[in-house]
Symmetry: C2
Subunit: 309 residues, 2 copies
């Protein structure tokens, strides 16, 4: 399978490396990391074993890559606006687009520009950080849920899942990706959001004080209410389960916090704005998400102003 | 009337100066500003006319002041713990204690330590900043609501109001101070809180973006619901009125933001914690206040850690 990795940050670099190591024809599209990776390779530190990949097939443009079977979109959702210009050289008649992006609205955006029949949806459950150009640190977890953007699994989704599994990626065929997306938002909305709003807080910081920990749980319950309005049932016991699980993460910095601290765009609309708008459109009132979203809008706006100045 | 001003920051300095200029015997208790004020006097810039007061009766201890008729408490509520040791030298048998502090719980604290019969309650509606030792900038407004901590106005409250009025302070006799306190919290809770949580936001910043402006209004509605649980009726039209009025303030920095930026204690418990606890005790759920309080707890805790290091 010929695979193009669009966006070789933490997600793209890590999974692309696994797929390449397993013998797939993988083409990495890179921008800022290109020169470094061409010179020094791609370094991954991981509890599953470190890796140093040299002669990585890295490209500066999609034209150099040409048509592929699978495009893995691992850019931040904030960069979606460049995809309509970026992706066409990669598209043959059967090319699938797999978004590994967070939040809501990415499949709809891709479907609108490239046809909904091309779109596959994936979600990563992994603690990864790109610490420098060409350097990725993997702290733990690593699973992917993958399936059709909506509807039951298809043979092509199954084929992609098998390709990932052969590369020793813990990938499972998801039967209901919209449910999976809300299920993941249940973690991302409180932890990624409060990490920024509570002043550079790690997961451990957010769970230390009872008041803040309680807000994490309450935000999770708001996500459950919103998901339920669209028919996605998430058990009310899940917040306690997720919080217990997150205690093991220690001083982990959610990816949005890292982006925020680097002055990079934060996926405010995909993770907080779009879920909130969908809930509002269904008549669901989510006061905590609403307040958090409004704070993040301003905090990220200010952070990027600082970065630009 | 012999008056001791406890805490000569913005509030104590401004109103104390007015009372002194009107011929009252005023004793200012100062700590950090004492040497500067003794040397250079007290400077006030104000739309009502600038003032430069020299030979200000400033004292370093309450023992030097001795018994007075009225103690005006203009310290931050976060310094209340020093009052039981600080105030006794000021107390004669008829001495009244007037708290001009923000938030809930100050009268109860004073009553517990000095007897509830001594306590008067006041609230300032004024835009003031102490910009340097002995330098106070008055931007606008300036009214005080003053009355018994609970219950109808008494002759002694009336006498204090008249003393303030003779000093050309826009002071009115309040018939229901508990109501006044919730009414003022309606402004302080959103503006002082979001100014910190939204990343050093001025009043104008908080009202610029529709999402954030809407959160200001929603927090005000939460305060209305909480106040109502204690029998204090605030009209549901008040948030729109307050927001319209606040647009005139422009880039005003609420006092809590200034404290926060200076690494000084912020009145988190008096302004957000105590109202939230009272609401919870009455079975009232205030999700936005709850989230805001938890964020402020951490943000101010971190800010003071930075200051201490």
């Amino acid at each position: 399978m010929k695979i193009a990795i669009i966006g070789t940050g933490a997600i793209g670099g890590y999974y692309g490396a696994r797929l390449w190591q397993a013998g797939n024809e993988v083409c990495f599209l890179m921008r800022s990391d290109l020169a470094t990776v061409q010179k020094h390779g791609l370094r991954i530190t991981s509890p599953d074993g470190d890796a140093h990949l040299i002669n990585v097939p890295a490209f500066a443009s999609t034209k150099e890559i040409g048509p592929v079977d699978l495009v893995v979109i691992a850019l931040k959702a904030t960069a979606n606006h460049i995809l309509p210009e970026l992706l066409p050289p990669l598209l043959g008649s059967e090319t699938c687009l797999l978004t590994l992006q967070n939040g809501l609205g990415n499949e709809a955006f891709l479907g609108q520009h490239f046809g909904p029949e091309r779109i596959l949806s994936g979600l990563c459950f992994v603690c990864l950080t790109r610490t420098a150009p060409g350097v990725i640190e993997h702290y733990g977890h690593g699973g992917i849920a993958l399936g059709e953007a909506s509807g039951p699994p298809s043979p092509r989704a199954r084929l992609v899942v098998e390709t990932f599994q052969k590369a020793k990626i813990d990938c499972r065929l998801a039967t209901d990706m919209p449910w999976e997306r809300w299920r993941k938002l249940l973690w991302n909305i409180p932890f990624n959001g409060l990490a920024i709003a509570a002043g550079h807080a790690t997961v451990a910081d957010l769970l230390r004080e009872p008041e803040l920990r309680s807000e994490v749980a309450e935000l999770m319950h708001e996500v459950i209410v919103a998901a339920a309005a669209f028919g996605h049932v998430i058990g009310s016991d899940i917040p306690d389960f997720e919080i217990a699980r997150s205690l093991d993460m220690g001083p982990y910095r959610p990816s949005s916090l890292i982006d925020f601290e680097r002055g990079l765009p934060v996926e405010v609309e995909a993770i907080w704005g779009e879920p909130l708008r969908r809930a509002r459109s269904a008549g669901v009132v989510l006061p905590r998400l609403s307040l958090l979203y409004s704070l993040l809008l301003r905090l990220t706006h200010e952070s990027q102003k600082l970065d630009a100045s």
